[in-house]
């Protein structure tokens, strides 16, 4: 039996490989998008919900929660801990003083590093307040005092994206931080959002100074299939796709992607499409999977509680049929600047957004309401962020329009 790759591998960021879409879907998807764009010019967008979806309704939220909870990053943290123990942490005399780990939205790198810090009993550094970020000062900030305090110890900075703002006064502190880390005595394990990292690389050359980061290896179709089988309750629920009701997870839900005789388990087309559309981001793929679950109409009333019926069937719809996929083509210029700001900072408190954008508060507020109503952004823990379901479409739209994007 072939050894399976670890689900939660961390690789050098330059070695990150995007999962390829199924060939037929790549050609079909490209042609479909071109047709939709041309049709939009002369005909306008029409409701084109397939017949197969008209008789299906979205499953209630409580039911979906019982199907699968939020992704658990404990295994990812455990793997990173082992990776660090065998490598960077063991090399106390190494010249590589900083190890950076970056991840796209949804991959909670900050949370992963917090668990790692707890596992290894390392000092965790919290980010400064937004007010402190916007105070340009050449004097040493109290937030940087850890750079001299730790001695030979290793410290963990889990969320570097919270150490700057894209503001004329917002780069001072992070410049000081990077300089102190580079010249100071301590070693630092750094976590950062991939969009923020890319911006910092272009603005202050962070990767040139601190060296190339690690990233979670892409969840291709095979990996995604294994992970979904492990988090979904396949003994209770049947997942189906397409008009003929083909099973999404066709073989027995044992761990791994191989049968007992070593043959490869079949991966369904919807999982392949999800893996490609999510660009290897497991959190995005998972969110799109859940958002695409449908019941036959007439069943929602029976699904108000947790899933208990072993004969329950859920239908997995194509992510291109999500409402937000259609909205993404209609962003105006202000929408794009707003979404780009949210992605660069991995979420911005609403009160600070006006200070980061060259538009009036009224214009920003009206767009915030519209984008929240369309499911493109959401308010979580006091910060406006792009939803995971909207993320692939927003990213593609921004990239097409020439905005700086991350490498994932």
């Amino acid at each position: 039996m072939r050894a399976e790759t670890n689900l939660w591998d961390f690789v050098p960021a330059p070695d990150f490989q995007l999962p390829a879409p199924p060939a037929a879907e790549a050609a079909r998807g490209g042609m479909r998008r071109l047709w939709e764009q041309l049709a939009g010019v002369f005909i306008g967008h029409a409701s084109d919900e397939p017949d197969s979806q008209r008789r299906k309704v979205q499953a209630p939220a409580e039911f979906l929660k019982s199907v699968a909870g939020n992704p658990d990053w404990t295994d990812a943290a455990a793997n990173l801990t082992a990776h660090l123990r065998d490598g960077w942490l063991d090399q106390s005399d190494s010249t590589q003083k900083v190890l950076s780990v970056i991840g796209p939205p949804g991959c909670e790198i900050g949370r992963v590093l917090e668990i790692v810090a707890d596992n290894l009993q390392l000092k965790l550094i919290t980010e400064p307040s937004p007010d402190e970020l916007l105070t340009h000062s050449t004097a040493s900030s109290p937030a940087l005092s850890f750079c001299e305090d730790a001695g030979e110890q290793v410290v963990v900075v889990p969320r570097l994206e919270r150490w700057f703002f894209r503001h004329a006064e917002g780069l001072s502190l992070i410049r000081q931080l990077v300089e102190r880390i580079q010249n100071g005595p301590i070693r630092v394990l750094l976590g950062c959002d991939s969009w923020a990292w890319q911006y910092l690389q272009h603005s202050i050359g962070i990767e040139d100074i601190l060296s190339s980061p690690l990233a979670l290896a892409a969840f291709d179709a095979s990996r995604l299939d294994r992970w979904l089988r492990s988090v979904l309750d396949l003994s209770e629920i049947q997942f189906r796709e397409g008009p003929d009701g083909k099973a999404v997870f066709p073989t027995s839900p044992a761990a791994g992607s191989q049968e007992a005789d070593g043959t490869q388990r079949q991966t369904s087309s919807v999982v392949k499409v999800l893996a490609a559309l999510a660009r290897g981001n497991p959190a995005v793929a998972f969110a799109m999977f859940l958002a695409g679950l449908r019941l036959d109409s007439g069943e929602p009333d029976t699904m108000k509680g947790p899933a208990t019926d072993s004969s329950t069937e859920l239908w997995v719809t194509s992510p291109f049929e999500h409402e937000v996929a259609k909205i993404a083509g209609g962003f105006d210029r202000i929408d794009r600047f707003l979404l780009h700001s949210l992605l660069l900072h991995r979420g911005v408190p609403p009160a600070l957004l006006a200070g980061l954008l060259p538009f009036s508060r009224t214009a920003i507020q009206s767009r915030i309401h519209r984008l929240i109503n369309s499911g493109t952004i959401e308010l979580i823990e006091g910060r406006l962020s792009v939803t995971l379901i909207a993320y692939p479409f927003v990213r593609k739209d921004l990239q097409s329009d020439g905005f700086l994007t991350d490498r994932f």
Partner: protein, 274 residues
């Protein structure tokens, strides 16, 4: 003295008899041609607007080219409906046209020919930001005789193509999306130049409009009245140039106020040149 009968005979040999002219067909073709020209003029910019912005400068230049091709096809179809298309007739008509163009429509013909040359040499394309004489704006369309330029004040100016024979044409973006924008700051001499340079650089670096893979540049020049700083940077899209310069200027001024740096007040200083 020319014999009128011979002249009339010569003309009738060029022109078809009235009964031979398919007037209805010619009318239908001309109307269809005009409609098709209008359709091209409407649909190509619409298509450019709907597609991702990076395709704009691939799509827009095709509008005048398609219209010229359509015009040539139209002429090739309609003219033989009215004249006998023999080599002798075409030569005779060309000669007459040359005389008419030479005397009466000299400037018009010059602009027409310049328009054809402009399609080939491309001193400007649809979507370019150009300066011709005192006119600065975005090229909206290339007509047969004129180029239509929309100024920042929303005025549509028709500039004859013939201007290119004798006037320099300044093209700010040359078919690309980005063009350099400049924000000027005029400071009194009492300031730390290096600090101002670094802070202005950050002002550009943190603009949402900035095309970040093109590094901003700060140029400082001493003048008799103080120091002239020029902050040069590229926006993501040339259409944002005015908003970009506004953003750089306002945030730059805010930064200077925070540093208590004095700016030069123009009326009290004579002879300032940009």
């Amino acid at each position: 003295m020319a014999d009128p009968t011979v002249t009339q005979q010569q003309v009738s040999q060029i022109l078809r008899d009235w009964s031979e002219i398919r007037l209805l067909e010619a009318s239908v073709v001309i109307v269809a041609g005009v409609a098709l020209t209008a359709a091209i003029k409407w649909s190509v910019p619409q298509l450019a607007r709907r597609l991702p912005d990076r395709f704009r400068f691939w799509v827009l230049p095709w509008e005048p080219i398609l219209r010229v091709i359509l015009l040539l096809v139209l002429l090739a179809y309609v003219v033989p409906l009215f004249i006998y298309p023999t080599p002798e007739n075409l030569l005779a008509i060309s000669g007459a046209l040359a005389v008419a163009l030479g005397f009466a429509f000299k400037d018009y013909a010059s602009s027409l020919i310049a328009g054809v040359v402009a399609l080939y040499e491309r001193p400007y394309r649809v979507g370019d930001w150009v300066t011709i004489d005192d006119t600065y704006g975005e090229v909206q369309s290339l007509g047969l005789r004129t180029v239509q330029i929309l100024t920042p004040d929303d005025s549509l100016i028709a500039v004859p193509h013939g201007k290119m024979w004798s006037t320099a044409i300044s093209n700010s973006n040359g078919g690309q999306r980005e063009l350099m924008c400049v924000a000027d700051f005029y400071l009194s001499p009492e300031h730390d130049g290096e600090t101002i340079r670094d802070r202005l650089f950050d002002v550009a670096l943190t603009s949402p409009y900035l095309r970040i893979d093109r590094r901003p540049i700060v140029v400082a020049v001493n003048r008799p009245w103080g120091t002239h700083f020029r902050l040069k940077a590229y926006p993501i899209d040339g259409r944002d140039q005015f908003a970009f310069v506004t953003d750089l200027t306002l945030r730059g001024q805010a930064m200077l106020r925070r540093l208590n740096v004095k700016t030069v007040v123009v009326p009290s200083v004579a002879g300032i040149t940009a």
